[in-house]
Symmetry: C2
Subunit: 331 residues, 2 copies
């Protein structure tokens, strides 16, 4: 059997381009003892991928040169040498950007297509869903009646943060780029207000939208938007650091919020997290999100693109504001 | 009776100078109903004073032009129209930079000179003491066996943080300016290591001193030292934002830590606080500090200067590294 893979050819400076990757056909590997061969049906494209391309210490080692690009994915078991799995089982896990993945059976989770299609298991029921839920409720400790502000509010994580916060009785202000995304954030996700950061300076619009200040700011972007939110914190606010997509393609440009001393003035905290730390509690979050999907208080928006060969260009959509909702590649 | 006062004449840019203040004799005010006239015996000089001179929203309104400079102070009651106090009582509270203070009796606290002299009630038993204790144990949640790093470790707050952390079973690394201060921090305060930030770059020295990373960083200074500490956080570290003295005289120069995303990598938090929020629990902290003074595990170092007229020059010692321990002015 032939596998098509996307491997890291060279480390990018700035936005990754076609030269970053080698896309080629190669023989599929036979599963060894404990391994499973999976036909990949959907690949999750995530902002964090950019960070995995850079050398240096982070919360995870970088992707090695020549390796298949790391990615969460979902698919169907073709062959198994792990008693947990049999051909035809549907699974998800870290299978990489390729058509056929040969991975350890113990690293996979079952998914139920009767509950949701492949792409949704990579979105609201997958890592982005867990990230939104634990970031908002555990790190952010959002309480009913509080004002929650979230950036990248039309994205996979931000869009769910908006909906979870509304479902939990919060007042919600989203920040997104362009009128279409803002309509999605208010009309489909239910935010009370959405600020279009492309339409003008964020600070005054945000100030007008949060008369009582911000209790929880869920930050996916960093930069000036983080600084604007930091200037409008309520007493004992929580700033949840989930990511900083505005700086991922130019790490040297990342600046800390100049007004971080506002944490002192407002007795506030800024806290980072990595969703994997919550693995033991995923079921709790997933049950809540499934209940929301069932009662209509949560809608899943996925942006599904097709063609493994288009991975290089589709990935860059994440960094140019080109996707809406969870970005998934069907190989 | 004649009172000598230090009033704010103009708002400084940069370091306050003689032109910032008006020092003059004026008739002492008679206490009104509920007020007390106090002879000021010791005035607390604190880094936060610089912030009180600037216009703009903060955790406290700025000192108004023409007002007596705000300060904590301790003294002896001369006359009282509040039933709580009688002449001869010793008290502390916000009495300002002057020789005779006419203040509301309800804003004063009693102090016992048999326990400690005036200056100590403004130091380890006063606001700096409370700031160190609640910052370290409540905000920082320092645990025995953890590594605590504190900047301005020869200062009023930092010096007590060192001693409290040692008393609590932590490994402690201080950062201070110059060999004399560093000797104080290790030999008298008991830090395991003290890094002289004037002797070379802090980052490599700090990295060598914290092989397991930093669990609690108590920041009094901001700037590059904050950034160095942020780069060496252990998993689930707490960064306590107590102040940022390096930027107080040039707010426009304040930068956030460029590496704030390390909060995410290390699942760490950065949190600010204002000591007044803990007023209801001061007795708890004071009892612990008194026990430490009694058993010798805490030593109080005060830097006492004399002469109300010298307030302008003595104040600047705080911003030039010129004082060691708690800076107190005897008017």
């Amino acid at each position: 059997m032939t596998n098509r893979t996307v491997r890291l050819a060279r480390r990018p400076t700035g936005l990754p381009g076609p030269e970053t990757w080698t896309i080629a056909d190669e023989p599929a590997r036979e599963p060894a003892e404990g391994e499973v061969l999976v036909e990949v049906k959907a690949i999750s494209l995530d902002p964090a991928m950019r960070g995995w391309l850079d050398e240096g210490k982070s919360y995870i080692p970088p992707v090695a040169l020549g390796d298949v690009m790391r990615a969460n994915a979902a698919g169907v078991v073709l062959a198994s040498r792990d008693p947990r799995w049999k051909p035809g089982d549907t699974v998800m896990g870290g299978m990489g950007v390729q058509r056929l993945a040969c991975v350890r059976g113990r690293d996979l989770e079952p998914i139920d297509l009767a509950v949701a299609p492949f792409e949704r298991w990579l979105g609201v029921l997958g890592m982005p869903g867990m990230t939104a839920w634990f970031g908002l409720f555990d790190v952010g400790a959002a309480q009913p009646g509080e004002t929650v502000v979230v950036s990248a509010a039309a994205g996979a994580v931000g869009g769910l943060v908006v909906q979870l916060a509304k479902r939990h009785g919060c007042r919600v202000v989203g920040i997104a780029g362009g009128p279409e995304k803002c309509r999605l954030v208010t009309e489909r996700f239910g935010a009370d207000v959405c600020i279009d950061y492309k339409a003008g300076p964020v600070r005054p619009a945000l100030a007008a939208a949060v008369p009582e200040g911000i209790h929880v700011y869920f930050d996916n972007v960093g930069g000036e938007i983080l600084e604007a939110a930091m200037s409008l914190l309520a007493r004992r606010a929580r700033v949840v650091i989930c990511g900083a997509i505005s700086g991922y393609n130019d790490f040297a440009s990342i600046r800390g919020p100049r007004n971080y001393l506002n944490l002192l003035v407002q007795r506030a905290r800024m806290e980072g997290f990595v969703v994997w730390d919550y693995a033991a509690r995923y079921a709790e979050a997933r049950a809540d999100i499934m209940a929301g999907l069932a009662d209509g208080s949560i809608v899943a928006v996925e942006d599904v693109r097709h063609g493994l060969d288009r991975f290089p260009e589709v990935l860059t959509l994440l960094y140019t504001g080109g996707n809406t909702g969870k970005l998934v590649l069907v190989p």
